[in-house]
Amino acid sequence: MNQTDYLKARFEQLQQEEPGGNLAAVRSKAFSAFERMGIPTVRNEEWKYTRISGLFNKEYTLAADIAALSSNDLTTYQLPAHEEANVLVFVNGIFAEQHSVIRSAGISIQLLELAAKNEYAPIVAAHFDHSSSYVNDGINALNTALLHGGIFVHVAKNKVIEHPVYIYHISDARNTPVLAQPRSLVYLSENTQLQLAETYITIGGSGSFTNQVMEVVVEKDAQLSYYKIQNDSADASQVNTTHIRQTGTSVVNVVTISLNGGIVRNNLHAVMEASHAEAHLYGLYFQQGNSHIDNHTVVDNVVPHCQSNELYKGILDNNATGVFNGKIFVRKDAQKTNAFQSNKNVLLSDAASVNTKPQLEIYADDVKCSHGCTVGSLDEEGLFYLQSRGIPYKAAIALLLQGFAMDILEKIRLEPIRAYVTELIAQRLTAESI
């Protein structure tokens, strides 16, 4: 049985097991979209530089037995200060309640399939699968079609969630290659605050492929901070869609840190649907070996008076390849938009490469938009300055790179996470400078 047949059988099985509800229709629609479009190839402009079709030659197992994982397996991978955090665990793409801990009042978590039927049904109906209108490809549709064990996170009105929410995605690839398809919908009601930190772990050596879709709705006066840390093993690939809708005047701060992995593709969307909303998108990628990192961001200014800032910085070593594609849309009526975007890259090796495409599409005249991008190697003069003060060549390089990364690291406002990521980078730089 080839992979597509396998996925199809799985889809039919799911439709039988969990029929009814308004999600069934969305899922069927998504499945036919998947059948029509298939796995994106490099002929698709959005996938020009990222080749994932090869990943599907593997025989993945979907939703493998999640009971095999014990809580002991997890302890090794905990993020710092997890004792103080709400913890959500996905195993092989399926929400694992037994490993999850909720400490804060005001936050409720349940299966998406359930939320689609109870009092949250209107929210789910309004926002679930909104991302599909922004990524028109088979891979996003596949996640929706095979929705199973996804979660709905609801933050009640006027609640500030003190404890951050840590989300772990564990792929248990000890026996067979795993295809994980986590799905979540996060809803921040009016006047709330939420901090999210998310990380990905593959256990075992059979390889994993994570196809994640996360949709976030941010209502009026809400604040979201979202930190994504990608530091998985070299045979762990992922396609990651984070779709944020700012339906009210709100502030969103997203930092994506990509340090390792096989082929990693991040789609990050900020759809600004309310005036005076703010979005800050930051990213740092530091890749070695044969890894491939692809950041596709979309900032869609639908209404006037919105502001967005975007800064992505990348360091590429060995045979690593980096892709950045930043789109800023300013719709017809979105006057007084301020949108800024910048992408800076450092290449440390001649075998490394970067493809960047900062893109503006502007349909309103009273706007301030700019984008810029640079690719280069480290500043010779800076290196010379440090060396002239007795700092060895390699240590000087490490120091400069640390400074380069600092711009992004300081945007992480969750102290333990910032310290953790800073340490990861420092370790790597020390290893490089030896």
């Binding site: 017809k332 502007i362 005249d365 984008h371 280069g376």
Partner: protein, 480 residues
């Protein structure tokens, strides 16, 4: 302010002053395209067998290709069987001197502001005039020949310099490069050929003037410039067409070969008929332009794009040789319903190659103006350097400005920078001018000229003035 704006918006667009039709008897190929059309063109031009073969090969490739759809432009499908692929003014024999040109034709060019006579006597610009499909006259040929420079029409070159044509034609833009270049290769009817021998600095500006005249025709010209080692040439190109309600296709190819230490400067003022205010009619300008630089060579593209209902054009430079330089300066203006998707490609292959891109887009009315550019730095292009700047200016809230820069870097010692901004003409700037007694219309023209200056400065003197006027005309009445 609002009331004032609407007043200004009511100001009627000045008419396209090149929109007249000249009544010249012309000889046309039957409508439609198949192998017999190509044989007809080839026979008309009395071409050798190898040329016909080359065309047929291109045609067969073209049949297998698909029209590109990736550009940010919209147009109804083109019926390639509804186009006349060859149209030539009838009374043409081989012309020895300018006096032999059809007086009607000569008047046409005078109307266009290119008096062939006058050019000959005064300005020191050698002109090759192409109307519809054929080259009408080339001036200053003899003087140029003294230095060994060949400047003639493509059909003449095929007759008299077959060895050069066989060597270089299609060497930069291969037959199968893209849909429109394949079509051009199959049916091109004329164009200019220019050859500068080693070490010669061309003493005057060379210029080609293109004019579409006949109805329902497509114009497919092909220009080839070969600059031998150490030579220099500056080349100008201008184009106009009559006002017609239906769209006409223009699919040209320009190839430049700059051998070691040669320098070629290519300037275009493109002013094809842009269609009327409702977006009816106008020229589809689907052009492939590319140059190749060998060691220490330099190619510089400068373009002022004000016409055409649709522009699809990416003058590119392949920086093959070490220390070669590529430049691209562009001002693209769109108004009413015009669409432009234009930019450049800089392929850095050699070591120490440098490129510079300055693109200024101005959109007004309901037009869309896109910059699409590629900077590619190959694995072996050590110390490559690129700087790109693309700025957009929006006049009015119904137009769009877009940038699609592609940057691909595969070498760590290279430095690539890209910057882009989008802005509008500030009310404070206009107020400042008004305060000093400059009316709004003039103020906007002033600001736009300042915006485009960096590019305009690159144009040769004769062209710069014309281009500046053109800019003002294209945007008249669109102040917002």
């Amino acid at each position: 302010m609002d009331e004032k704006l609407s007043n200004i918006e009511q100001t009627v667009l000045s008419d396209y002053k090149y929109g007249f039709v000249t009544e010249i008897e012309s000889e046309e190929a039957p409508k439609g395209l198949d192998e017999s059309t190509i044989r007809f063109i080839s026979a008309k031009k009395n071409e050798p067998e190898w040329m016909l073969e080359w065309r047929l090969k291109a045609y067969r490739q073209w049949l297998k290709m698909e029209e590109p759809a990736w550009a940010n432009i919209q147009y109804p499908p083109i019926d390639y069987q509804d186009i006349i692929y060859y149209s030539a003014p009838k009374k043409k024999a081989t012309i020895e001197s300018l006096d032999e040109i059809d007086p009607e034709l000569r008047r046409t060019f005078e109307k266009l502001g290119i008096s062939l006579e006058e050019q000959k006597r005064l300005s020191g610009v050698a002109v090759d005039a192409v109307i519809d499909s054929v080259s009408i006259a080339t001036t200053f040929k003899d003087q140029l020949a003294e230095q060994g420079i060949i400047f003639c029409s493509m059909s003449e070159a095929i007759q008299h310099h077959p060895e050069l044509i066989r060597k270089y034609l299609g060497s930069v833009v291969p037959v199968t490069d893209n849909y429109f270049s394949a079509l051009n290769a199959a049916v091109f009817s004329d164009g200019s050929f220019c050859f500068i021998p080693a070490g010669v600095r061309c003493p005057m500006e060379l210029s080609t003037y293109f004019r579409i005249n006949a109805e329902n025709t497509g114009q497919f010209e092909r220009t080839l410039i070969v600059a031998e080692p150490g030579s220099y040439v500056s080349y100008l190109e201008g184009c106009t067409a009559p006002m017609r309600d239906e769209n006409q296709l223009h699919a040209a190819v320009v190839e430049i070969v700059a051998l070691d230490h040669a320098e070629v400067k290519y300037s275009t003022v493109q002013n094809w008929y842009p269609g009327d205010k409702e977006g009816k009619g106008g020229i589809y300008n689907f052009v492939t332009k590319r140059g190749i630089c060998y060691d220490h060579a330099k190619i510089s593209w400068t373009q002022v794009e004000t016409g055409s209902s649709i522009t699809w054009k990416y003058p590119s430079v392949i920086l093959k040789g070490d220390h070669s330089v590529g430049e691209f300066y562009s001002v693209a203006v769109t108004n009413n319903f015009q669409q432009a998707d234009t930019g450049t490609k800089m392929q850095h292959l050699g070591k120490h190659t440098r490129s510079r891109i300055v693109s200024k887009g101005i959109s007004a009315g309901q037009s869309n103006n896109s910059y699409r550019g590629l900077v590619h730095v190959g694995k072996n292009a050590a110390n490559a350097r690129n700087y790109s700047q693309c700025d957009s200016l929006l006049l009015g809230d119904k137009c769009g400005a877009h940038t699609f820069p592609y940057i691909e870097v595969k070498n760590k010692s290279s430095v690539v920078e890209h910057e882009a901004t989008t802005s509008k003409v500030g009310e404070d700037q206009i107020f400042y001018c008004n305060q000093r007694g400059i009316d709004t219309e003039t103020a906007v023209a002033l600001i736009i000229n300042g915006f485009a200056k960096e590019v305009m400065n690159q144009l040769p003197m004769e062209f710069a003035i014309e281009a500046q006027k053109l800019l003002a005309i294209s945007l008249e009445g669109s102040v917002g």
